[in-house]
Symmetry: C2
Subunit: 397 residues, 2 copies
């Protein structure tokens, strides 16, 4: 066999010292930034990131609201009322028609007050007897009332740019009268499977990547299967994607198929990062857009996605790049050994306040992630942690 045989010199894992994780993150942060804004209907804006702040055009609330469950009254009509000296008011049906001084109307917290009322008598301080309300306490004008503009004056910022919209933020947008908002465009992500023995069993990595890209705010623009180098070249160079993720064919024993293609059609700027699993990841550019090469083996693909590609998707979508996982503190129930010079992902099971390590560098099996409730990151320059160490567990959702 000659050293010029195809694939030979690209035999993976990539040679040389892998890049430091910090260096890969710097490359990534320099390469990805929030895309431009687009207008979408408020109802479709959940999870999107505001590209511009939202201001209230009108005061919020526009009219006075009840501040508790109870009865809207004219405050002065309750003066002197007490448990031993109750007063009586006429209990009127609902609606916002002007309230007479001797009337009261049942209101729930948060609803607009009828005209004329300027106080809300808490429910405990009155009792209804047919058409009459017996009043056992006095309220001052403005008491238990949310004044117009209490949430925001006209012109105030209701939500700032960069805000990832939650379900109840959408309510607030409707309340200020908006029908559409300007949010960061969702990054179009192309998924390309490159031939590799890790893909032989089915597209196990692709199905996972599609979900993760969506979770991080991306839109899978297409899924391609590159059966040869020319197909891969074409898929990396074709317009329409903001980010291309090639999985498999990178340092997986089948020749560095993906790395060679990116080197040929664009630039492979970092190949190999000191993370484990996921070390064979590659970062580069093609046709002016970022391309990432991910391992095809599902666990390595997961870790490389989490550490690098997911951050790219979240940054393009306008987010800060942080992991979307909740963090829980737990105490290691067994020691964890880690390889010096590798940032390692240790999957753990959670048991009350304890974290039971499942696997680190020997955890090449996806089963360790399936069995885990989350993972602990062991820094580059650590050899691991003894039993009893308090660790931060990133909890899978």
């Amino acid at each position: 066999m000659s050293p010029e045989a195809p694939g030979f010199c690209h035999g993976a894992p990539p040679r040389g010292t892998p890049a430091a994780p910090e260096q890969a993150l710097e490359w990534l942060d320099a390469t990805t930034a929030a895309l431009a804004g687009e207008d979408v209907a408020v109802a479709a804006a959940h999870g999107r990131v505001l590209a511009r702040p939202v201001h209230a055009d009108v005061p919020l609330p526009a009219t006075a609201l009840a501040g508790c469950n109870g009865y809207a009254v004219h405050a002065r009509a309750t003066t002197g009322a007490g448990s031993y000296s109750p007063l009586r008011l006429r209990l009127r049906a609902g609606g916002r028609a002007a309230l007479a001084v001797d009337e009261a109307v049942a209101v729930a917290s948060g609803v607009p007050l009828p005209e004329g009322s300027d106080g809300v008598l808490p429910r405990d301080e009155a009792e209804a007897f047919g058409p009459a309300l017996e009043v056992y306490g006095a309220v001052a004008a403005g008491e238990h009332v949310v004044a117009p503009g209490a949430e925001a004056a006209a012109g105030d910022a209701v939500l700032v740019a960069g805000r990832r919209l939650r379900a109840h933020d959408l309510s607030q947008l409707v309340a200020v009268g908006l029908e559409a908002v300007t949010v960061v465009r969702r990054p179009r992500v192309r998924l390309v499977a490159a031939p590799g023995s890790a893909l032989a069993a089915g597209d196990a990595a692709g199905v996972m990547l599609e979900v993760l890209v969506g979770r991080d705010g991306g839109l899978v623009e297409g899924r391609g299967f590159a059966t040869d180098g020319a197909a891969l070249d074409g898929l990396m160079a074709a317009p329409g994607a903001d980010l291309t993720l090639v999985y498999g064919g990178s340092g997986d024993g089948d020749g560095d198929f993906a790395g060679a293609a990116l080197g040929r059609g664009g630039a492979l700027e970092i190949h190999g990062v000191a993370i484990n699993p996921g070390e064979t990841v590659g970062l580069g550019r093609c046709a002016g857009r970022p391309v990432m090469l991910l391992p095809g083996a599902p666990l390595a693909c997961l870790c490389a996605y989490e550490f690098l590609a997911g951050r790219a998707v979240r940054r393009l979508a306008g987010g800060g790049g942080d992991w979307p996982y909740a963090v829980r503190r737990a105490t290691l129930r067994r020691k964890v050994a880690s390889r010096l010079g590798r940032l390692e992902f240790c999957r753990v099971r959670l048991e009350e306040d304890g974290a039971i390590p499942l696997a680190v560098s020997d955890g090449r099996l996806l089963a360790s992630a399936v069995a885990a409730e989350g993972f602990v990151v062991i820094p580059l320059h650590s050899e691991g942690y003894p039993e009893g160490t308090e660790v931060r567990v990133h909890v899978y959702q």
Copy 2:
């Protein structure tokens, strides 16, 4: 005005002592259980709950895999190798063709080994010089190899019933050769807006409910606006929904429109629950299916949804009912007062390890939830917490 005037006797908030939160949860748990299973494609099963366990038909992995990044070898060919006594092997291109005893091939963790190889030499213990691999260490047979069946033997359960499928679970399902899985059917949830002054400003609650129902695994089957009692009766009784959520028109000062309709067309079993905000919530049944009446004011609607309706959706979808929020421990930076006899939701901002309470019972404004990072639950029989108390914060996503 006569006591028989429409809406009068239904003047809200609902009368009498509200039900204990525990009692409402018991009603809910007795009324809702996981729906039947349905088959869906693995790629569409993210977030769904397995209705049946998944077994491996074949051993997993089916063939031996590399257990680390390195070089697949015949273990016996490395016997005696050391840093001072290196051995040489021929470095072959990738692929799974049978490996000769004097050959090595680069492999990444997790990929199938070529025929004949029975050990993986970690990358650090060898160095490639053109077509030759210099070997600085010995491996034993089976070392750094994932044996066939190491993840699961044929017939083993790979995932148990009740599992909410994560992104990487889907990978594992593909790896065991499945194309479809049996998951709990998504509950069809009907959203109905009932007339009420809280809805005057726009459907602020509806847009939020639609997102929350989706988050909890439900499918919004339709959104209706009931402009009168007959329309509401019709929407509650019509087939096609597993759960109906009526919002507005329940104890909001406009007459107990929704409660009256449910009492007429079905059964209003609990009206008023000792939670704040959200006290006017109602629970009942119509045409054999659960119906919940939620307040129309967005904050009260949010809390009532979170405490009761969301749990119903999650249970119907096969989940355990727990909140989908991460919990973070934090120290109260200010005291929180709470009303005895009400389970209260206190929105808080998070600042390092501190939680700054924004509002409890006076927090009738949605702005407090928009400004908050999460909330603290203050139990029924508590009058609140002093500054410095360690609390559990449910963090909004």
